[in-house]
Point group: D4
């Protein structure tokens, strides 16, 4: 688009229809378009073919439906996170085909026909306790929607370290691990020491008192004694999935 | 002392040297001494035969020496914690027999002749990393001084979980475990899940940035997913030892 | 199970059915099972004969009932903490025999026939004010369920120090003291100075404004001027009971 | 009232009883000046006859000497707090008569001849531990300098509650009590429950780790379970003394 | 009671009915009663003739009524703070004579016949904004109930400094000032500079965002540039009144 | 200046040119009153002709209506912020002419006939995301009500930097920019670097977990790497508008 | 520069020396330069003719001199803030003409010949106490260097409110007010209520204990009860000056 | 080692020298060794051929040299981070061949002969300001030492957004981006929006006042509006490099 306009302008200059001075002036007015043009290349959707994800909190069900509808029209799919029951219902009513994950509070309208996974390897989502599951499911649903193969390993908290060690086979198969844990967040450090692949730690707000809504787990994970463990915001299953998807789609960017 | 005064007063009453009315009046003036007397029983030194421990921070070397000398005169022994190099030197100069633990910053003048351990079982001090050792040593020195048998297990942080698991024999022998760890404090949870005996967690100020001087480890330990793990103040090796000694001397109180 | 497989493998080697090389290879594949086997010994239930405790927060009543039922089937008993009214009702409906403690929000299905206390000595639960009672009751119920004898001393806050001192007889009888206090948390220090046995301090979220949901009491307790006082998370009556039970069952581990 | 005085003044001017110049002079104290005039009455020095107190931190020794000299010229006395060793030396060199309190870091040049105490009753300064003494001494020195009778009760922390109770006679004599305590700050609550007179709590930065430079004591004191305990900033012995002096000079303002 | 027992014991010793040794033993058993005896003197109600104040938060309406009824029976009066609407209703139903202050959430049953104020001088309650009034009213109601004369000065925040200065007459009449302010808490410093009498600052939770539920005001007040301003907990109108009442009844204790 | 006016006034009284009554009336504005008088000049409504703004939080709908009615009577207009739905309804019922902004929770009764903008230039309100709009609208409504021309630029968060850069024309037209952003607050720094005019940053409470109710954005804005960015309280759209209006009306004060 | 290159390119196209296709390709490679070109307009130095300000903290004296020299070469002037004594010396040695402000830790090399102020009106810098002066001086020096007329009003803290009110004349003359205050930060609110012009509040780290390095003042200022007060980072005199300069140069941007 | 013992045991069983029962018993005693054996596989050095990294803080120069020497002996290389000047000197003295990076405080002894990079793609380290360079260099040195190709992009903070956009070519080449920024941490969000590859954000402690030692940047990064940005601890250049190296070596684990 920008390219067309620039081509035309230059043609006019070459043809003498526009003086260099006028052309300069008009170029001077297009800084943004020029920028846009430049950035078309590296501002493509995060995961190719994947539209913006709708974060529903702080929106009305009507707004959510409207935004999802707009995405559906342009891309044939949408993904909504932190959707309330009302939003889930509204989206299901309009798009019976969509996948509603109640506990994860996500609604996903997959492309039709479905697209095979585009990310390499397997993203493994590991949780410390059953209360961490909603966040873990958000991560799993989002990662799958973004074109990744996902496996899960639930309820392997470190207070019973054997529960985790018994699953070392699954840990070894993963190419990225998302560790979801509240309370003491210790699972991230233990897993970080057991695998060599990227480990993304998600602190959850599970706990009470001095867990301070997930701060204890957040700090523990930021101070993990296992080197190279990275952290996202409390309860941010979406962010962990997006980060894992950046990793599993990494070769695309070279 | 109080006992002597009461005995004498009662003797005088029995001998008719003091009237009951006078005696009552004099007793009426001694509520505190009466209390003191009453509390002699349950306000005995924490570990029998063990005098007050001198916390040196915020005192001058002169003050520390004076207090230790006073303790030495009354009990033939003393224990000083958080002693600076100057204090260590001053105490060693005056009491060549005393044991100086530089890294633990403690000075202990043991009773002469030595007294065999009075606490039951073994207190095991476990550390996550080498930087946690000064705190761990303070705990070990204090626990020994208080009449306990002490063993140590160093540098078994959870990022290399096998280092810890390999030592399960030692863990199993302990009757109280003191876990000393900074950074993510995760070791407390793992150990808490491996043993059934009391576990006292000591967060250390080891770390930087979001460890906030040990707060990350403190919070993680307070939120330990292993049930029944208890916590003391950051870097408080002394407190952990005192708690462990309360436990190992517990049967004395029944 | 592991044991059976190992026995069979060794039998095959002895019988020449499997070569040592093959056996080595197959052993190499069972690290986790081997571990599991090894840990059966020291990963026994915390208090012998006592199954996992169900922390109800963040679960649905249906989930809670299902988990309790599973525990009941395997062990003939269960203990659920932080149970909502709905959960209490659901459990009572299914297990009319169970003990529901409304204020403590716990539901306990005792073994049938009842088991006499297994822990040595008496765990004394002391509270500063009447608002601290729900947490204190959780501690008492849990400690009893875990096989301990429990006594309580209520409403002896330090603003009326005589209320506490008047009860020194009860304090002296205890072999472990759990101090439950909100606001200034001062009771832990006073009790810590009055007794020689282990003292476990539980800060409560009682208070407002600068109590910050129990942080004031937590910090005060961590900084107790009485040496050897240990602390658990805010409102964590369960944790204090589990710690006390570790102490009173301590001799079992030697 | 002001209106009446103005009416009368204007009447006098109109009647020639007062010249415009005199009236101006009397008004001279008005608008902005009038405000100042009005406030002369209630903006008198805090304790009558007492000049501004010099807070030395963040000033150079030269500045401190200059300000003190100015105060000495106008009032014949001065009081400097938080004076460094260099400042203490400089002031002593210039005013050999001045009282230097090294530990309290205060320098006081008393009026000559001395003035008897103007405040009613006795201000009692109580400390939990020996490390709290510098703050306690600042409070004592300032309170005396402000014209109050001051007594002290040192090292009566609640971990040995009998040490405090034994001194109930002194507590009972006080008409205001300043409680200086770091760590758990528990002393304020116990004293607040023992006396009926005003209790001013001064948290100190004594402690380490989770004392957070006195925050633990500050919070505990703000949440004191003894009603009517008031609090000043951490280590603010000066402020506590000023508050106590406001109380003991209170009758002056009626 | 204790006295009687001691008298009898001493009589027996004097009469030879009890040996000094036996008496000593029996005295050894009475430490607490002895203490209780000694403390009867200085553990009188805070303000003479005033029973314990009932803090209703965390209690049921039934409990509140029961406690108030018990106080009414023993003292003919009661004061309940932080009473919910239900509690207010329940108390009013049972004690039609009681004074219910809805905004202050207090219920006061005055003695019958009424008792004239016992505190000296006037306690002035000053507020910065209209939203601070509930806390200010709690302070005023409590202070009056405790036997003090109380005046109020509402809505004189420092953003319109003339509103405050115009009321200097009232400020000057006060013998204690309670300053109630949220947000920036600046009123405490301005008032502290305008009067010489004791100033008690009450931060309120009025505000949003970075007021952090009153922490901004609390910190500002603790750091007041006016010397001798003291502070109580956030929203603690009761505590400020109790402190003011300690001050206005101070002469009683000498 | 005051002095000159007083001298002249007194001269006139002395000369009989002015009666004492008239002089009194003119002085009427003095001492405490005089102060008020003096300040009439610089205590005029913030934006000329603009009455006090009603902050509705913590008030009842009845109180809000009453205060607005009082303002309407005196000034023919009013502006209420943080008005609940009930308040909005009540005001609309009584003043059908008033403008209700539901999302901004403001109600504005404009002067009748309308007054043209009095502030110079254009205030541009920029938001990072759609969830920031309620705060942005509050800012816009208030700024307009205070007599300013306002434009808005919505949903130009920095994660898609081209969305912002594309609008550089609008940025360039602004004479004051209000940046409204939650989460990472990064928009303030980018805008601060793009324009030379004053930039007022409003952190919003949009976010979750470690956004801590807007603290993350607040801190980021206070630490903006663009120099000269100023900040107001979290969600304080009103304050930003008032600050912008102070700026756009600035020339009035010289 | 960009402009020249574009002009040349267009000239070549017009002259047939470059084909439109080649030109397009070359333009396609300049997205950034195109942007730069566009932004030349609104990315001019903050205050016209004013180069980047050098923040010295975290740099070596050599680096500082090198950067300043580079600025001097390009613009004939420089301004360095937070310069250590060593940096001040090094700059003075090389540029004897430069102005060194020791207390403000700034070094300014003014243009030669000097440039008259370019900002409209007067920026007034007001401080609460003498310890706030270094920050206030930084603000004053920077504002002057940026082309503004600056006045100062020192030591007018609100504890002696008359000191401030007496200077209302100076306050009224200001067209922007910078309020510099530590401790309780109350001065910002009082000044904000006294003037109608923009007020920029600078919290300082002056204070101790619960001032938390300026946090108390920062929070108080963010919660100012005077509407439209804006805030910069703690001790950020530079930022306040830059903000004030944005305001006083505001008309330039329209 | 374990392998040898198992082989021997199995050989004995095969040879009939040990019965299966005895062997089982002995295996039962080796759970940990069995584990160790099993974990050899997945507990290999993080990056193949790379030994443990030495974190020097809290160690003495002697200890550092000793540990490095041990690593050198076993692996022919070592990497030490956070090395003080003294440690750098000591290591250089002993290993003249080692690379000392003063600003990054790292010492690296590369393998000899050098090993070509093993990680795929390019790790790009981007910094906001010059003060962030030490942390960025630590990241770069560590990443290179771990076998990665590394590029850097310095001083492209968002206050001059064009500086960053001009370098979009370099951003586009990266396969992992490490963003190092203090103060407002905004660079992470802008870069996160510009690239599709993994972005690791490192907050630095650069800043003052309300940056709280890097907390402002940390929180901003955790709340990044760009999805999929992950975060490590403050100043943790090492951790970011380790995480990036996990990513770039990821394919190895499948």
């Amino acid at each position: 688009m920008i390219e067309r306009r620039l081509t035309e302008l230059l043609r006019q200059v070459a043809a003498g229809e526009t003086s260099p001075e006028d052309a300069l002036q008009r170029l001077g007015n297009y800084p943004v378009e020029a920028l846009e043009f430049a950035q078309v290349d590296h501002l493509r959707p995060l995961a190719q073919g994947f539209p913006e994800v709708v974060f529903c909190e702080g929106k009305t069900p009507e707004q959510v439906v409207e935004i999802c509808a707009s995405l559906e029209r342009s891309s044939g799919m949408f993904l909504a996170t932190r959707a309330s029951a009302a939003m889930q219902q509204a989206l299901r009513a309009r798009y019976p085909r969509c996948e509603v994950h109640e506990r994860a509070r996500t609604v996903f309208l997959p492309p039709d026909p479905p697209v095979p996974p585009t990310g390499s390897g397997v993203i493994l989502v590991v949780t410390a306790g059953t209360s961490d599951q909603p966040v873990a499911e958000e991560a799993a649903v989002v990662a799958r929607a973004m074109g990744n193969r996902v496996e899960t390993l639930m309820d392997v908290g470190v207070a019973g370290i054997h529960r985790l060690l018994r699953r070392s086979e699954e840990l070894r198969r993963a190419s990225v691990v998302i560790v979801v844990a509240g309370m003491d967040g210790a699972l991230a450090s233990v897993v970080g020491g057991l695998v060599r692949v990227p480990v993304i730690a998600v602190p959850t707000s599970v706990g009470y008192g001095a867990s301070f809504g997930g701060v204890a787990a957040l700090l523990a994970m930021l101070n993990s004694c296992a080197s190279g463990v990275v952290v996202v915001n409390i309860d941010n299953g979406f962010g962990a999935a997006a980060a894992a998807s950046r990793i599993s789609h990494r070769q695309d960017s070279e």
